[in-house]
């Protein structure tokens, strides 16, 4: 937890203008959400193709760089390779000075933001005008872009009107059409006056030495054609092999950015303009630029390229889809991140382009909800890289004292954890209300109950209640080991008992392997790989007891560890790898297992009871399970009212709920608003952590809406007495 980050988040969350702008944007995007690229059936094959294109291009980058340079030079362009920001900026300045440039028009480019090119030129008295309308607004405000593609998405119309009034010296009304007309007129004049144009590149095509600039406003076209000198500032990672590859990227680029099938303008520029109308021989300088300079920028990219773990970040198309789907970004927008690139991918880029230390507090903002990964048109595994980044911080500098004790000394040892919880159960007594909820904890724990009410720790955890369950011995019924996980164990033991009851009803033999411990998720997601490995081994040994046919969980977060992370963590550990894989095969989510046990269960008649369903992140995106819980509801006779953005994180993910409760609370607020908007009185979910968060949030609101786990719902449905 960083205090300055807490403060920054607080400022963003209480900034009325920012929150108004974000709210308006959400409303605007709402009708288009279903068009989002990731939900279309062709998204998967198209994104796989983009991944292939980028993978191959990055793999053969050194060769493609040479090819691009050779072709660009052949077309008449000048090439300069810049190691860092300084050399790139100096080169552009030199070119500007050689041509006695006074006015520059610039198309939007994140790279030039990264190297602060505009500031560099302005300091030398050259006027630089941003021509993307959003970027111009941000320039007038003296700020940094709040979003890769929507730089001014954090501004309200009123704020923009104020900026325009100041810039034009005339009163501008806060009407969108007026604002658009003012910007068009002002910018049009700039193109005509400019003696240099600067742009970035969406793609650089090696086979012809071509720069491709994508815009919807038309500013890219004008800033690259009207001025006599044109400079393209291009990151090495933008180089791709061919025009065919460019088409693959174009198929998803604008869909990912703003649900447009294609960008309006794709300007492909190969060398300077020329004409042979005068002498029959090509003369440089037709009606576009006479001189074209391409500045290829490294600035940390080649270090990324050399890193096996982070190379994939170079596949990024800067489309912004990950930001549009990031719950944290939706709460605070991009400037809160404090550097040029925002969100999850921004965290990785920041680590390489600005320094690893700067990325650490950004990594801790990640909920681990995986929404970014699922919408990325290049299929970049952002969550994996963030996890890796955190592990590197810990490898380099070790854990904080608090975490070292919590993970290494307590979490790792089930008995110590039991004792700690027991102590907590004793200490909590003055703060527990009659209904076993904790609504106000004293300082320094007060932030924990700021946005949610907590369930009181029960006097007896689950394990003491299940001592009566013996190992399976029927020999005929499926043996199901129940892996409870900490939330069920220490907060919702009743739910654990429900699981056992329902499983027996479904003719299984459930049992509770005694040696189980915390799955290790808190440690792993904090970068403490050592503790995670130790817990993986403890749990594998424990869950082999009784030779189960299945291992069932009610916490998808735990399930992801057991099923996906353990085999990865133990991949190179002799003897363990195989055991981890064997375990992984047996792991089932509760809803999944019920359907497997009773595949042809008769559907109960509709009873007219409406419920809504919240998709837990780790269930839907971690385990790809979304239809099973819904099928179960239908089977039990419930009518499902779909929740808007049902699969958006509830705010419990990662360390955010502990480190930045205010942020978690704002994410939770949107979820609860959506739940209330359905008008139903019951929300079902399939994750005990989500249950804890949603129940706690609804309690704070004094809402009557009930939150139930599928297991509880089925237990209620079951005949009493079983």
């Amino acid at each position: 937890m960083s205090r300055t980050m807490r403060k920054r988040l607080h400022q963003a969350l209480t900034n009325q203008n920012l929150q108004t702008a974000l709210q308006r944007r959400r409303l605007l995007a709402r009708p288009f959400r279903h068009l989002a690229a990731a939900t279309a059936p062709d998204f998967e094959p198209l994104s796989r193709e983009i991944h292939r294109v980028k993978e191959e291009a990055i793999a053969s980058l050194p060769r493609l760089i040479e090819q691009f340079k050779a072709e660009a030079i052949k077309s008449g362009a000048h090439i300069f390779e810049a190691r860092d920001a300084r050399s790139a900026n100096d080169y552009v300045l030199k070119v500007a000075q050689q041509h006695n440039v006074k006015h520059i028009v610039k198309s939007k480019s994140m790279l030039t933001e990264e190297i602060e090119l505009r500031e560099h030129l302005e300091k030398r008295g050259i006027e630089v005008r941003e021509t993307d309308i959003g970027e111009w607004i941000v320039q007038l405000a003296g700020e940094r872009p709040a979003h890769i593609v929507g730089p001014a998405m954090h501004k309200t119309t009123e704020q923009i009107a104020e900026l325009f009034s100041k810039a034009t010296g005339q009163k501008v009304e806060p009407d969108p059409q007026v604002l658009l007309n003012v910007s068009r007129r002002a910018l049009r004049q700039s193109y005509i006056e400019a003696d240099m144009g600067i742009s970035g590149a969406n793609m650089a095509i090696a086979e012809t030495g071509t720069i491709a600039v994508v815009t919807n406003e038309g500013n890219g076209c004008m800033s690259t054609t009207l001025p006599p000198v044109y400079v393209a500032v291009v990151g090495y990672e933008k180089i791709i092999s061919s025009w065919e590859d460019a088409m693959a990227i174009l198929r998803l680029l604008s869909r990912s950015t703003m649900a447009l099938k294609m960008p309006v303008y794709i300007s492909c520029i190969t060398g300077p303009s020329w004409s042979n109308a005068i002498s029959g021989v090509a003369q440089l300088g037709g009606q576009g630029p006479t001189e074209v300079h391409i500045v290829l920028v490294d600035n940390g990219r080649m270090t990324m390229w050399e890193s096996a773990d982070f190379k994939e970040a170079l596949y990024c198309l800067r489309c912004g889809a990950c930001l549009n789907n990031c719950p944290v970004f939706a709460s605070v927008a991009g400037q809160t991140y404090g550097y040029i690139y925002q969100g999850g991918i921004g965290t990785i880029l920041t680590a390489f382009l600005h320094g690893a230390d700067k990325a650490e507090e950004l990594a801790n903002l990640c909920l681990g909800c995986m929404a970014c990964q699922k919408v990325c048109p290049a299929r970049i595994d952002i969550p994996r890289m963030i996890k890796r980044l955190k592990a590197e911080f810990v490898e380099k500098r070790g854990l904080s004292l608090g975490r070292r004790v919590t993970y290494g000394r307590i979490l790792k040892h089930p008995k110590r954890l039991d004792r700690t919880v027991k102590l907590g159960a004793y200490l909590q007594r003055p703060f527990v209300d009659k209904d076993s909820m904790i609504r106000n904890l004293p300082y320094p724990l007060n932030s924990l109950t700021e946005t949610i009410s907590l369930p009181a720790l029960p006097a007896r955890p689950l394990k003491t209640r299940l001592e009566g369950y013996r190992l399976p011995n029927s020999g005929t019924r499926p043996r199901v080991a129940f892996y409870a996980g900490c939330v069920t164990e220490y907060a919702y033991p009743n739910l654990g008992e429900d699981v056992m009851r329902v499983l027996r009803e479904y003719s299984a033999e459930p049992y509770y392997p005694a040696g189980q411990a915390c799955c290790g998720a808190p440690a792993l997601y904090a970068g403490d790989v050592k503790t995670a490995i130790s817990l993986a081994k403890t749990n594998i040994s424990a869950l082999e007891e009784g030779e189960p046919d299945y291992i069932v969980t009610v916490c998808p977060g735990c399930a992801v560890l057991l099923k996906k992370e353990y085999p990865e963590l133990l991949a190179n550990k002799l003897g363990w790898s195989e055991r981890a894989n064997r375990l992984a095969d047996k792991v089932r989510d509760f809803s999944q297992l019920i359907l497997e046990l009773a595949p042809s269960a008769e559907k109960k008649p509709q009873m007219g009871k409406k419920v809504t369903y919240h998709d837990p992140c780790h269930l839907k995106r971690g385990l790809d399970i979304q239809s099973e819980p819904r099928q179960l509801l239908a089977q039990e006779g419930f009518e499902l009212v779909e929740l808007f953005d049902a699969d958006t994180c509830c705010g419990f993910g990662g360390q955010v709920v502990l480190d930045y409760p205010e942020l978690s609370g704002s994410i939770l607020k949107r979820k609860l608003d959506e739940i209330e908007a359905t008008g139903v009185d019951t929300v079902v979910t399939n994750c005990v952590a989500c249950v804890l968060q949603l129940r706690g949030g609804l309690d704070k609101r004094r809402s009557k809406i009930k939150v139930v786990h599928s297991a509880e719902l089925l237990a209620q449905q079951a005949k009493p007495g079983i």
């Binding site: 068009r184 038309g218 190969t270």
Partner: protein, 248 residues
């Protein structure tokens, strides 16, 4: 016309329409000319800038507009020189070949009322300056698509001078002429065609500018709405010229 072409045109029309362009299919030269003239008149247009277009020449578009009192300026340098010379027959690739720099300098000097040196760069700079004013003052820009892509409703324009980009982005109204034969099904098919076109033109040199234009320019930068007409034209019209006679 084959059924396949018919399907391509229909898909193209639907997609371009969805992206914000207005597509009109003309079955004859007269229909095409009449549509464009009416469009210009509806907007009280006075000045038209035009990029190189074999199709426009074939259907006699410039004459049609000029007769109605519109000022039409050719922006391809070769075509412009020819226009200054009062030459109606424009070749396709190198309009000005056959004219010496001295002759061109004389034409340009006369047009602007100022002496221009008979040197390529001097002529080029003057032409650039003069034509620049034409784009800015023009109400309508006319260009021809070298290719069109059915699956996305995209038109593709190739040029080396940069004029077709300026014609398409600066004026209030942009009209694209499209030969019905130039529609290909997919982005990938367009690359194949583009590569053969590009290498075939201009001595195997890749064209300086390849512009893909889909629908009408927009912006999402002003909050509260995705707004049409950002910085480019207010209207995008695509006139498909289908001279095969059996459009339906």
């Amino acid at each position: 016309m084959t059924l396949a072409t018919r399907e391509l045109i229909e898909r193209f029309t639907a997609e371009a329409g969805m992206a914000g362009a207005t597509v009109y299919e003309a079955r004859s030269a007269d229909e095409a000319n009449a549509y464009i003239l009416k469009l210009a008149q509806e907007h009280q247009a006075k000045r038209v800038v035009k990029a190189k277009s074999a199709l426009a020449q074939e259907i006699g578009l410039r004459d049609c507009l000029a007769k109605a009192g519109l000022e039409v300026i050719e922006t391809d340098l070769g075509d412009w020189f020819a226009q200054l010379a009062g030459d109606k027959t424009l070749g396709l690739a190198e309009t000005a070949s056959g004219r010496t720099p001295e002759q061109i300098a004389a034409l340009v000097s006369k047009a602007i009322g100022d002496k221009v040196k008979a040197e390529a760069q001097a002529i080029l700079q003057t032409a650039r300056r003069v034509l620049r004013q034409s784009y800015i003052a023009a109400d309508v820009g006319i260009s021809e698509a070298d290719l069109a892509i059915a699956e996305t409703g995209t038109i593709v324009m190739l040029c080396n001078e940069g004029n077709s980009r300026l014609v398409s982005v600066l004026p209030l109204i942009h009209v694209t002429l499209l030969n019905s034969d130039a529609v290909v099904p997919t982005l990938d098919a367009a690359v194949v065609r583009l590569k053969s076109l590009a290498r075939g033109k201009s001595d195997g040199r890749w064209p300086s500018y390849v512009t893909y234009l889909t629908g009408r320019n927009t912006t999402g930068d002003i909050p509260e709405a995705l707004m049409a007409r950002a910085q480019g034209p207010a209207e995008e019209h695509i006139v498909i010229v289908n001279r095969t006679g059996d459009a339906r």
